[in-house]
């Protein structure tokens, strides 16, 4: 017997080999509208033990969601493991996400995971955390933000910069309001256009401009020393924010992001998410900017 099989043989003696492609049945509890075509889906596994095991995920990990008959897709885990509920926030872009958007409370689908490396939050203890999110880039960062706030004493300064095209496209507004009120947390918002399209017609009195413009706002000082910058957003935003951060003196290895790729397995087998030497699903999705720069593909 060859070594690879023999290794598994000994593993198999201890227990049955797990089927990594087998998703477990989940129930949709409720759906909350976020912004245009983006909804949050609260769900739980039918099996309580499955739910308990899943809830040990790390911020920055992801899951594979199955809509049988349509397919399976990878999606970030926006909840923090310190929160009770499990949920996904998903934009409707293709056939699988459309199928998820078509579900209603009580409907069943299936989930497997969590997968990926996640943010090394333990390693970041004692450091300042700066979160920079453009649009739905706040979805994958939400987990780390809520986690850091739940363990407030373990981290230094916490700054959140969030930008959207218009006020009605700001993500997780109830969370943003809460973060703005939380002592010891700085939450800065900006929009590209201050259109008055928010439901209720509330006037936008905040900052207008790209996310990077917030860094130069009077009264804002971004810590650079002993700081980790989390950056997530559309490619153009990503490029400009990286330029700004490097300009401020951030080291490439202290800037982290999470990548998205077409994925079919989530476990390093199907080959779709492999960039350079990295499988985004098992080596990522969290990478430092230093790593991303050397992968050699568009972000």
């Amino acid at each position: 017997m060859n070594p690879a099989l023999a290794e598994r043989e000994t593993a198999g003696a201890a227990g049955v080999m797990e089927n990594v492609y087998l998703p477990k049945a989940a129930v949709l509890d409720r759906v909350v509208d976020e912004i245009h075509e983006v909804k949050t889906f609260y769900w739980h596994f039918e099996d309580a033990a499955e739910q308990a095991a899943f809830r040990r995920f790390r911020p920055g990990q992801f899951a594979q969601v199955s809509l049988f008959g349509v397919g399976e897709f990878p999606t970030s885990l926006p909840p923090s493991p310190t929160e009770e509920e499990t949920f996904f926030t998903v934009r409707q872009v293709g056939s699988c996400t459309a199928a998820l958007h078509g579900l209603k409370a009580g409907d069943k689908f299936a989930v497997r995971g969590p997968y990926g490396n996640g943010f090394p939050m333990e390693e970041y203890r004692g450091k300042n955390l700066v979160f920079v999110a453009g649009g739905i880039g706040l979805i994958p960062l939400r987990s780390a933000i809520v986690y850091a706030m739940a363990k407030r004493g373990e981290y230094g300064r916490i700054q959140i910069f969030h930008g959207a095209k218009t006020p009605s496209e700001l993500m997780y507004v109830p969370n943003l309001r809460e973060w703005e009120r939380t002592p010891g947390v700085e939450c800065h918002l900006t929009v590209d256009r201050a259109s008055r399209d928010r439901a209720g017609g509330e006037e936008w009195t905040g900052n207008v401009g790209v996310v990077g413009s917030l860094f130069k706002k009077p009264g804002v000082t971004v810590p650079v020393e002993n700081t980790i910058a989390f950056v997530c957003g559309p490619p153009i935003m990503f490029r400009f924010v990286i330029k700004d951060l490097l300009g401020m003196g951030f080291e490439e290895r202290n800037i982290v992001s999470t990548l998205e790729r077409y994925m079919k397995c989530g476990v390093g087998k199907c080959g779709h998410c492999c960039i350079g030497v990295a499988y985004v699903c098992v080596d990522g999705p969290v990478f430092t900017y230093e790593q991303i720069k050397n992968l050699g593909e568009d972000i």
Partner: protein, 363 residues
């Protein structure tokens, strides 16, 4: 390793021994012309089994990694989701698998079983698979135009990873004896049959002489530059123009990946089955195809064809992956050479890389 001698007439009886033990035996059979195909042995075709014949263009990897395989069966009953994995646990033996393909299966073992997550579907096929390797000793039949196992060190006679190896001690298919070497306990267990006789020191000596002679019968190729290509790829020294040229020649048919015994990529798709709900299938996929990395919404991080070709050869030649899998994803079978309309099979690419990096260094 235990060695025995089996007569030419008795060699096909190994197939019978395996069938008696409950194996479905797969063997290459000649078709019209030079084409050969792996087919299950039946009572009808049992008499047509040959020891020497050209290696089939379609690799035997489908017996451990089928082109299309059901992973799950899903039924909705009374509002409940029933998700059931389905496994193929058939006992199979491949009689006459060539050394390059033995190395191919070993690479798949490393990839599917030897990393962070093990693939249970692969494991079930593999655990039930028995390999009877035939060493390539017939220059006319076994060694093709495109064979380059000499350069990947995977042939003409595999040194490991088979259950049983047959080595023809005759000359060009004549002479009465073959040496049988057991590579595993399962292989050795067959030696209880009376068809296997004791081997003498002279047999081993003859095997060595024949092997030495066979090595000289390979077509002279330039692919001995493999190590240079691995170095250049691993160090990122390949000029963009080289990838451009490879990309320009690639017709994006995906043929090289489908005939490759060491390519592993797949996609997953759901299909409705009448009256039975839904089944989830995995299907071979190819990095040569433009939609391979396209995400929902249309964004494709890998756009140009030379990016995709870069991907395939980087994956196969970079030291990083060889180290990660402890085996190289090219086994020198030459099938990509035979199938490629643009002449960007592995040996050509290795040669282009060597030539162009060397030229650049001279400048």
């Amino acid at each position: 390793m235990k060695a025995r001698i089996v007569s030419r007439e008795d060699a096909p009886k190994i197939v019978d021994l395996l069938r008696e033990r409950g194996y479905e035996v797969i063997a290459p059979f000649g078709g019209r012309g030079r084409d050969t195909f792996f087919e299950p042995v039946t009572d009808e075709n049992r008499g047509r089994i040959q020891i020497h014949l050209p290696n089939p263009d379609y690799p035997p990897k489908r017996y451990v990694f089928p082109p299309m395989e059901r992973l799950l069966k899903v039924e909705r009953r009374d509002g409940e989701l029933r998700i059931e994995p389905t496994y193929d646990e058939k006992k199979r033996a491949i009689f006459g698998i060539r050394s390059c393909d033995v190395a191919g299966i070993y690479h798949l073992d490393r990839f599917y079983l030897g990393r962070e997550f093990a693939d249970i579907y692969y494991e079930k096929h593999r655990r039930n698979l028995f390999l009877v390797n035939v060493a390539c000793t017939d220059a006319e039949m076994d060694i093709g135009e495109n064979c380059f196992c000499m350069c990947t060190d995977t042939g003409p006679a595999a040194r490991e990873h088979f259950d049983l190896q047959l080595f023809d001690l005759g000359v060009d298919g004549r002479g009465g004896e073959l040496m049988a070497v057991a590579g595993t306990e399962a292989g050795e267990a067959l030696f209880t049959s009376a068809i296997f006789k004791k081997a003498a020191r002279a047999h081993l000596e003859r095997r060595r002489v024949i092997l030495e002679e066979v090595r000289k019968r390979f077509k002279p190729t330039t692919t001995s530059w493999f190590s240079a290509a691995i170095q250049a790829v691993s160090r990122g020294e390949i000029p963009d123009e080289t990838w451009d040229e490879i990309g320009n020649r690639c017709l994006e048919c995906g043929g090289c990946t489908y005939v490759c015994p060491a390519c592993t990529c797949f996609t997953v798709t759901d299909r409705a089955v009448e009256g039975e709900g839904v089944e989830r299938l995995r299907v071979w996929d190819s990095c040569a195809l433009s939609g391979f990395t396209r995400m929902a919404g249309g964004f494709n991080p890998r756009r140009a064809v030379h990016d995709r070709r870069n991907r395939r050869f980087f994956r196969k030649l970079a030291h990083y992956f060889i180290e990660r899998e402890l085996s190289m994803a090219c086994v020198g079978c030459g099938r990509c050479v035979a199938v490629c309309h643009g002449d960007v099979g592995m040996p050509s690419v290795v040669e282009m890389i060597r030539r162009q990096t060397a030229q650049r260094k001279e400048v």
